[in-house]
Subunit: 145 residues, 2 copies
Amino acid sequence: MPDIRHRVAMSAPLESVYGAVATKEGISAWWTRDGVRGEASEGSRLGFYFGQPEPAAVMEVTRLSPDGHVGWSCVEGAEEWIGTKLSFDLTQADGETVVLFTHADWRSPSEFMAHCSARWAYFLLSLKSYVESGAGTPFPEDLKF
Amino acid sequence: MPDIRHRVAMSAPLESVYGAVATKEGISAWWTRDGVRGEASEGSRLGFYFGQPEPAAVMEVTRLSPDGHVGWSCVEGAEEWIGTKLSFDLTQADGETVVLFTHADWRSPSEFMAHCSARWAYFLLSLKSYVESGAGTPFPEDLKF
């Protein structure tokens, strides 16, 4: 099945990048400031809000390893997202933290998947900006495209 | 074989976006200002320079259709790029031009492919900025990551 995979290097300690992808406060600073609700613990569910009363996506947290791994499984949201698996795998190299992001197991390489691929890259650069300078570009401050 | 696919909508006429991906002048404004050399015609080759005496990639131009399609086949460059196929497919919708970008036929979903995926999304947003406002962020003005 087709996957989205992006690699982005960030000038920040692994612990900082981990905090930004493993906690509700962190995620709200680079993906959606409108709301991350639920509990960020393994086996719990997180809802992500983008200006609507219903969450755009609900993820089960499948992995939280402070050595640099966060996993989500999409249980509610866009039909094409349900059942897909997302992960953030962090490694340290040359004083930087490398984020390998995967959004896996799409049913088909649709135009919506291509849209999400570009959107994820944009938000990973928002994550980079947040961990490097303290300021990301989460929804609703994000560039629309 | 795994593919990179990004969809980005741009507030510009299709003819402007086509010119930006079909001509050397256009490409140099959003991908690499360091140099696009050769001839931008079907069957000819274009070399793309990024601060080195040798081109980082040489593409054969396989398609140039002013109705909105540009195709390249990589003939020289990074080993993982050789033999891959790239395309820009443009459509008009709701007063915007939608760019569906594909970098297809990678041999494996490597970390280098994931790096290139994020880089392509960044440069497609540079293309969007260029066709909308006249200013892109090509090499060497690009964000490094």
